[in-house]
């Protein structure tokens, strides 16, 4: 049955349905409905909720719960995610599954609370130390957010990695009809977990410290083999570019919905445009840009930032097309007409 839910609340409902039994968080706008909802519903359904003393406390509680083998989630917003980076790197180093929700806001610094996408680098390149990546999902609707939460928990378990779901206040605060498409969690071997059963098996140790250079190098190589597999199997993109489209507009998350309106506006006046919407920001769908229809002559990247995903688009394009940019930031949201104007200028200018 469809329910009218806020993005933040729907994410919680999906997480609980996905078997998340531990949530640790700390308040920050615009994600406060997540810890609020979890505080009401987690314990009722047999789970654990702790409002930690800080974001750093919360992510380290996640480390502990993940090491004990349970499905665990935390959530925060941009500056709070910055504080969690040390813990995220440790989760990656210790190969622990964990879902981290980032309902991002504008920055830098404490910034503002309105929608922005200035955290692309933070999400996909890591603010934490060391050689690691983590899968990053960027839903554009409340429904897709819930579906990707199930995916995020499964991918975290299968590859033993932290996984991020990133949205912004627009998606977190908006309400849409949503159906929680619950499915059983993927079964994985968690015999590595430190769950207090050491009397029945050799003792398990979960750690990211490794002072032996050769051993640590081998571990990094092994982890990058997994990353390669993630790149091959888990990349997701919503590519709506059709033969005949002159310009491809690239956007992700809730702001891509504004691009959809702009594309309708352009089509109404005879300019054929199509949307490319990366759903996974890592792994990024680089290949899409090498396989566009011949009709495509221009690329326009639209972000609520000064331009961050554009770097990945340029890697994908590899010089094949000129790559243009239109963005707003600080919490200002572009109007469909602004994007249509930018696209019109590029197409008519013929550059």
């Amino acid at each position: 049955m469809k329910m009218l839910m806020k993005g933040n609340e729907a994410i919680c409902e999906a997480a609980i349905a996905a078997g998340c039994t531990a949530f640790f968080g700390y308040p920050i706008t615009p994600q406060n409905e997540i810890p609020e909802y979890m505080s009401f519903h987690m314990t009722d359904r047999g789970g654990v909720f702790v409002q930690a003393e800080s974001e750093i406390g919360a992510i380290n509680m996640c480390y502990g719960a993940a090491a004990a083998g349970v499905r665990v989630m935390t959530s925060s917003s941009s500056p709070g995610i910055a504080l969690k980076q040390e813990g995220i790197s440790y989760l990656a180093g210790a190969q622990l599954p964990c879902v981290i929700v980032n309902i991002s806001r504008s920055g830098p610094g404490l910034g503002g609370i309105l929608p922005a996408q200035g955290d692309y680098f933070q999400c996909t390149r890591g603010g934490g130390n060391g050689d690691y990546y983590m899968p990053v999902y960027a839903p554009f609707s409340v429904q897709e957010a819930t579906d990707l939460i199930f995916k995020a928990f499964d991918v975290a378990d299968v590859y033993r990695t932290p996984v991020m779901v990133v949205a912004d206040g627009m998606l977190g605060q908006m309400m849409e009809p949503v159906e929680i498409n619950a499915r059983p969690p993927v079964k994985t071997d968690k015999s590595w977990a430190t769950n207090g059963e050491s009397g029945t098996r050799p003792r398990n140790v979960v750690n990211s410290l490794n002072l032996n250079a050769e051993a640590l190098e081998a571990m990094n190589h092994a982890r990058f083999e997994l990353y390669k597999e993630i790149e091959q199997k888990e990349m997701m993109v919503d590519n709506r570019v059709q033969d005949g489209d002159e310009i491809a507009i690239v956007a992700y998350g809730a702001p891509s919905r504004i691009v959809i309106n702009a594309i309708d506006e352009l089509k109404a006046e005879g300019i054929n445009a199509g949307l490319i919407r990366p759903i996974t920001l890592w792994p990024f769908p680089y290949d899409v840009f090498q396989n566009l229809p011949k009709s495509v002559k221009h690329i326009l990247v639209c972000e609520l930032s000064m331009g961050q995903m554009i770097d990945d688009v340029k890697i994908g394009v590899a010089g094949k097309y000129p790559v243009n940019f239109y963005g707003r930031c600080g919490g200002v949201i572009f109007e469909p007409s602004e994007i249509a104007d930018a696209a019109r200028k590029i197409v008519k200018g013929g550059c």
């Binding site: 908006m174 919905r257 691009v259 309708d264």
Partner: protein, 180 residues
Amino acid sequence: MITRILVSGFGGQGVLTLGQIMADIAMRKGSEVTWMPSYGAEMRGGTANCSVIISDKMIGSPIATTNIDILCAMNTASVTKFIDKVRPGGLVFVNSSIVKEKIERTDVTVLEIDASNIAVKIGNLRVANMVMLAGFLLKTDLFTIGDVEEVLKNRFATRNPQLIPLNLEAIKQGMEACGA
């Protein structure tokens, strides 16, 4: 068919709830719908608004602060801020208990509703938002009073059933005051 609604007023006037009720009705009727609140540093007595977009196909941007089909303005600041953003031919419902200024635009249909005064007369200022629903019932085909009743029952039946007749009375009084 797409309808872009902006409900705006003071924090505490129930503008977000009014939007949610309309979004809930639209969902039950099988439409695509989005509800998006303003979420700056809002406080009681400050300004608040929400966008409700109802459509028969997938909705792009959930923000309806431009090219508005229906503006429901519960205070003067809302009229000042959004009247120029209503599309020509659009509808404007004004809480005339509070908004004293005449709307100068002649290319929109204005309906003045004495919402706050009617709500006080019924005995609860907090139902002023429901009085404003009269505009939607009289001037649009979006929903019927029966649809509103169903959503109210769903919201209040278990915990506050006494609020259902109060809210329905507010709507009826609003419709009567507008000549229905």
